[in-house]
Symmetry: C2
Amino acid sequence: MDTEQVAVGGSDTSAGLDPRIAARLKRDATGLFPAVAQQYDTGEVLMLAWMDDEALHRTLTTGKCTYWSRSRQEYWVKGESSGHVQRVVSVALDCDGDAVLVRVDQTDGACHTGDRTCFDADVLLAG
Amino acid sequence: MDTEQVAVGGSDTSAGLDPRIAARLKRDATGLFPAVAQQYDTGEVLMLAWMDDEALHRTLTTGKCTYWSRSRQEYWVKGESSGHVQRVVSVALDCDGDAVLVRVDQTDGACHTGDRTCFDADVLLAG
């Protein structure tokens, strides 16, 4: 079998994460790694959430940002209930494989409070 | 004693993190939380690293981004050996207290590979 059939960003969501990507990932003790969502055009850092291999696979293959909810212990398609969806524009893994940057097009606010970003409300040191 | 003496962004680095900030933080099982460094003017997401309370305290009070190295198990002032320092411009905590966004002015490349950001080299899905 030609392993090239397991394409990065392919459309088959049933096969799980491309093993070539999985081999580069470093996960914490619970199998998770942080994912940063950034608005692709303005550069705003919208939020940080958590992924496992399957959440990254779904993010790469469905075009919708998908995370793992540590509190609810379930997959979570951003905006599925609120409508504040994140359309995936690009995805990159960092140099040591322990974090992901997802550039997205965010509909309305990313934060559950209604704020545009999750970092708007609690400024510890102002620039 | 007037607790207001423990000022946010104050200059006393010996007293530890302001307990009002510490009370809002959610840490993982090893006492850490992710910190995203973003170039303050261009919006580039430069890197993701890890902090504990003391690293955040030092970041807030010294003007230099300070992380906890999980591999070396020690504090790490970004750029201390490379000269690729991160001058702290602003710091914000996210809505559920489990991640920090530090806007910085990055000297040269943020990545140990020489790249400008740690997310430049390993693009999983291109926009």
